[in-house]
Symmetry: C2
Subunit: 217 residues, 2 copies
């Protein structure tokens, strides 16, 4: 399924709805949820919830709301999370290792978390050939082969800023489709490759703005 040009603002709320539905499916007995309630739990207005969902189909029933299990399955399909998606990670430093652990834990605990971390990459010869939590570490020269063999679609980049563009290029050339970038640089990529940036320092600096400056010891 592919819909033409749905706004990124909409897409970034879908995983939020999905999380609420996942929680709900466990904790509660209820079969259906209203846009009102779903909105409250996701931190979004009820009209916006309905509008977001309506882009993809008619999932609700008037007077009743949305059937939780059904809507969850539909959202999974929309987000391409209904089947396994192979993910790689490059930069096996402490952040890379932390994300690997986090990711595997999530994958083990949540049966429907279909993003599977299958290969790690690093340029450090002492790391190549080792494995982290059971995931093998390859050298950068193995990127084309591994991307192809394992069918990697997404790569998480946790290398230093000065190397980020270079390794990104290697993965783009190898045919990767999505990049989750933790390096503090604006990556250049063709339109066919989707880049999402996560920059901790930027977020912290933003937060600093909101901290009233009352000088103290």
């Amino acid at each position: 399924m592919r819909w033409n040009k749905i706004s990124d603002a909409v897409i970034r709320r879908l995983p939020l709805y999905l999380r609420v539905l996942d929680d709900l499916a466990q904790e509660s007995e209820t079969e259906a949820i209203s846009s009102q309630e779903l909105g409250i739990r996701a931190g979004v207005g009820p009209a916006l919830v309905r509008k977001d969902l309506a882009w993809f189909g008619e999932f609700g029933k008037q007077g009743v709301g949305y059937e939780i299990g059904f809507l969850r399955d539909e959202l999974r399909k929309i987000l391409n999370l209904d089947s396994r998606l192979a993910v790689g990670l490059v930069g096996v430093g402490s952040l890379g290792v932390a994300l690997t652990r986090y990711h595997l834990k999530r994958f083990a605990e949540d049966a429907s978390f279909n993003l599977q971390l299958e290969a790690l990459f690093d340029s450090d010869l002492t790391k190549i050939g080792q494995s982290v939590e059971g995931v093998p570490v390859y050298g950068l020269e193995d990127i084309p082969r591994q991307v192809k063999e394992k069918g990697l679609k997404i790569v998480i980049i946790t290398v230093p800023a000065q190397n980020a563009q270079d390794v990104a290029n290697l993965f783009i050339k190898a045919g990767i489709q999505g990049i989750l970038n933790f390096a503090p640089v604006k990556l250049k990529a063709p339109d066919t490759v989707h880049v999402v940036d996560t920059d901790v320092s930027l977020e912290l600096q933003r937060l600093a703005y909101y901290v009233p400056k009352t000088t103290n010891g």
Copy 2:
């Protein structure tokens, strides 16, 4: 300085501009930069750059542009980054340790990175009393005292989801002003406390939407 109600969309671009100016101050000889060039480097339109900056004052010169060193200093002041800001972190797991290392490295390398990580917190008795890269680990019962003594203004939360709201409450009670939350939950906090969320799984799931599903082995 305090300006009334400037949009968050504006604030989140300021650290981006600041980073461009920091890079520029090092690499280049040029004294001034136009909104055009600054925009290209930050990935923002030139008119928007001018409008964003104009909220805070008149920093440019017609026909010339913005003096790099001057604008950088002004942005630092606006973002409260011109003086030391004490930061804490709770949840000394692998992500917490990784962020600690990352943070300290940044602090050591960049003289103007004034966000100083001063205290770690955890509930694990085997971790309390230890230190990570020279930063001491305290128990949760020490939160009020340490927040006060060290003047902690911001806390980074890297605890499991089910504990996040509880530890957040402890810090809010102790008088923290900002929270950078890595736990996958929507934290409830009073309006006086600013919360920024960073959720890796959410970002990955969002990325999955953009990955065309061509099933392969």
